[in-house]
């Protein structure tokens, strides 16, 4: 493989004269913020979209891809963000889907499929049980199945579209290993991402895109995360100074909160914590250690078995979601696509959620759409949410923009307590910076913020105080001044603090 060059001038200008070349056995990263055009150019390469100009060359020969099948024939495969797997079928059946081994011309030779997939997985060191059903596989394993699917088609160029977005940190490690290994075996890999640490960890070269344009191509050995991120965003990223504030009054006090699961297992054990006004309190922990359930109890989605929740001194434990919200609690849930927003609802409807009882928007049960739309348009402008119209469906927004919209909606409650979970999961650097700055502003305005995040750097950056959760209990509390990745990390793994003065 010599080079792929591609030009794509004009149009809506999703891509403007982009040139990319890729060598054999190379791991090339393409980074850029949401909407920078990196997905578009890959869709063109994979035949999902057609260029309005420019050409693609493989081994020096010009190619035109009408559809993914023709790209596949030239050895280009893509592992998409949302998997194209059939849940009721086995891994083997999914891997061979589209080019099944045959018996007597028409029959599907499932045994041979299992053998072939087993052999393939051995060949590439992707250990897998081909007979497992997809619906019983964890996300990481499903992704592995997608990779095998592409390998089964004999792809020489494999495009990964934001592959780590759906994975847990441990699974990400495995994925990065796989990427290195595939490149080592002579496959050419294109990695689309906005996680710069992954780029630095595995890529040979990195293409930076912004606003549909190709900004630079750098060797990762000769650059830094700082340089990449400022090229990506187009300006220097400056961490906002977090001002020192005087101690505020207690807004949230939680005493001995406990919850058991349906099988009697303990999910949250005896958690006590407090959040004061003008304070960001972080809850660190590997996801799945009870953080989600703890928050759900705080906002009224789950009823605790035991314990007290005092919001501004008033008992809220076991109360209805609406009562708790009315008492001054806003909530940004961890998953914007399932709980944060209804993807089929318009932006107006999405923004209206939980605001519908407000006097300015609601007269005797009739919604005032006009005044709602006016205030929402202003809100979206303030939060720099890129959208085409308020009538657009919220599912059409990019992840970062939808997240900003949800944060805007919840912050605009001006609640005394803001409970926020995974505020920047899967959003680009620009949106992340924006959301962080907003949270810091809210803190300065005297809000009490409870932040849950599985991203440790986010917790360390924002929190005045950090609780670490492990197996449903609070395994330690660290002040900002003392906290670092190491001592929090130890607590996250269930360890104990030794450095504490006795």
């Amino acid at each position: 493989m010599k080079q792929i060059s591609k030009r794509y001038p004009n149009g809506v200008l999703a891509n403007d004269n982009v040139n990319i070349d890729l060598n054999e056995g190379e791991l090339l990263a393409i980074v850029g913020e949401n909407g920078a055009g990196k997905s578009t150019i890959m869709k063109i390469l994979y035949g999902l979209e057609h260029p309005t100009g420019g050409e693609i060359f493989i081994h020096g020969k010009p190619q035109v891809f009408k559809n993914p099948q023709s790209a596949m024939k030239q050895g280009i495969g893509m592992v998409q963000q949302n998997f194209m797997l059939l849940p009721p079928f086995s891994i083997a059946e999914n891997v061979v889907y589209g080019s099944e081994p045959k018996k007597m011309g028409v029959f599907f030779d499932r045994k041979k499929a299992v053998d072939e997939v087993r052999q393939l997985s051995g060949q590439y060191g992707l250990s897998i049980d081909p007979t497992l059903l997809i619906k019983n596989c964890a996300v990481g394993l499903q992704q592995r199945c997608e990779i095998l699917k592409v390998l089964y088609q004999n792809a020489r160029i494999i495009i990964f579209d934001e592959p780590s977005a759906v994975l847990t940190p441990q699974e990400v490690e495995g994925l990065l290993d796989t990427l290195r290994q595939l490149a080592g075996m002579g496959k050419s890999i294109i990695l689309i991402t906005h996680k710069l640490n992954e780029v630095m960890a595995v890529a040979d070269r990195c293409v930076i895109m912004r606003g549909g344009r190709h900004i630079a191509t750098l060797n990762t050995g000769e650059t830094s995360i700082q340089e990449l991120s400022s090229l990506m965003v187009g300006r220097q990223i400056v961490d906002k100074e977090i001002p020192k504030l005087d101690k505020g009054h207690c807004v949230l006090k939680v005493k001995n909160l406990s919850l058991s699961g349906p099988a009697g297992q303990s999910i949250v054990r005896n958690c006590s914590l407090n959040v004061d006004s003008g304070e960001i309190v972080g809850i660190a922990g590997v996801s799945g250690n009870g953080q989600t359930e703890l928050l759900h109890m705080l906002v009224g989605l789950l009823k605790p078995d035991d314990g007290e929740i005092l919001l501004n001194g008033k008992e809220q434990s076991g109360g209805e979601v609406r009562t708790i919200r009315d008492a001054g609690c806003a909530y940004v849930p961890e998953d914007r696509n399932t709980m944060g927003a209804a993807l089929d609802a318009t932006l107006t409807e999405t923004l209206l959620m939980a605001h519908q009882y407000k006097k300015e928007l609601n007269r005797h049960g009739i919604l005032n759409h006009k005044s709602a739309e006016e205030s929402f348009a202003a809100l979206l402008k303030e939060y720099n949410v890129l959208h085409s119209s308020l009538k657009q469906k919220s599912g059409e927004l990019s992840g970062g923009n939808l997240q900003k919209l949800i944060v805007a909606r919840e912050i605009s409650h001006n609640a005394k307590l803001l409970v926020i979970s995974e505020p920047t999961r899967g959003v680009d650097i620009g949106a992340m910076e924006f959301i962080h700055n907003r949270l810091i502003e809210q803190r300065s305005d005297g809000a009490a913020i409870l932040l849950v995040s599985s991203d440790l750097s986010e917790i360390l950056k924002l929190s005045d105080r950090i609780y670490v959760m492990y197996e449903g209990r609070i395994n330690g509390e660290i002040m900002r001044e003392e906290a670092n990745a190491e001592n929090v990390g130890i607590l996250m793994m269930g360890g104990v603090r030794h450095d504490k003065a006795v």
Partner: protein, 303 residues
Amino acid sequence: MDTNFIAAILNSAIRSTTPIMMAALGSAICNRVGVFNVALEGQMLIGAFSAIAINWFTGSIALSVIGGILIGGMIGLLVGYLQVRFKAADMVVGTSINLFVGALSAILLFILFGVRGSFKNPALLSLPAIQIPILKDLPFISVLLRNFTAMDYFAYLIAIGMYIYLFKTIWGYHTLSVGVKIEAAESMGLHAQRTQIMAVMVSGLLCGFGGVTLSMGQVTLFTENMTAGRGFIGMAACNLGRSNPLLIILASLFFGFCDASASIAQNTIPSQLTQSIPYISTIIALIFFSRERMKKIKNSKAA
């Protein structure tokens, strides 16, 4: 009890099973590609009517059978186009087609034969009964198999054939994939919509087949609304059989048995009551099996 009596009941049950099984298989193929087809009843009724009409005008059994099946298939094609290509709501399409076919057959009955309600004539030909040598001389078996037509046997071959197609062939795998995740099928370059429309058309052919056995099998006549909900009972049988053609054979036999016992019990119990047996049994069976299934789902989740 007299063994001949038992054989007669089973005989009647199996013959009642054929149209229900055809509707159930039609429902299954639609379910498998992710289309909810409510028009089975209409597809069957048009098949029953067409067979009698062609029978009368051509005097050919072969033409009646083929015509009934094909016209059922045409209605299926229409349903498929409306639901798949034009994204019309399934309940609306199904209900309209059922009402439309009901009215159309009543009108044509009057226009073509000048009668209302039902049409019967000695000149109409019935499907010939198949005599199997040796078996026809055995005491119990001979009663059991009495008056079975070729179509009664063929129905089981269709069910087995559909099973092999769906679960053993590559095309079947592709067909199933359309119902599981249409985007995945399209990303592999399959014509997902075409597959769906074809499946609905096949359901029309199957229901047409069922309709023909109804109007030319046990009896040889056409009455308005003679399908009497068999399309819907077929949907229930499909549900009980979890859209698996082999399980559907069993589920259809159960409903066929209920149908047959309704007509047998007519002599002793008021007919208003017996006529409701197939429908009541449908509801009870659905409740029973749904409960079992919910329990299983619950258990597997807890595990």
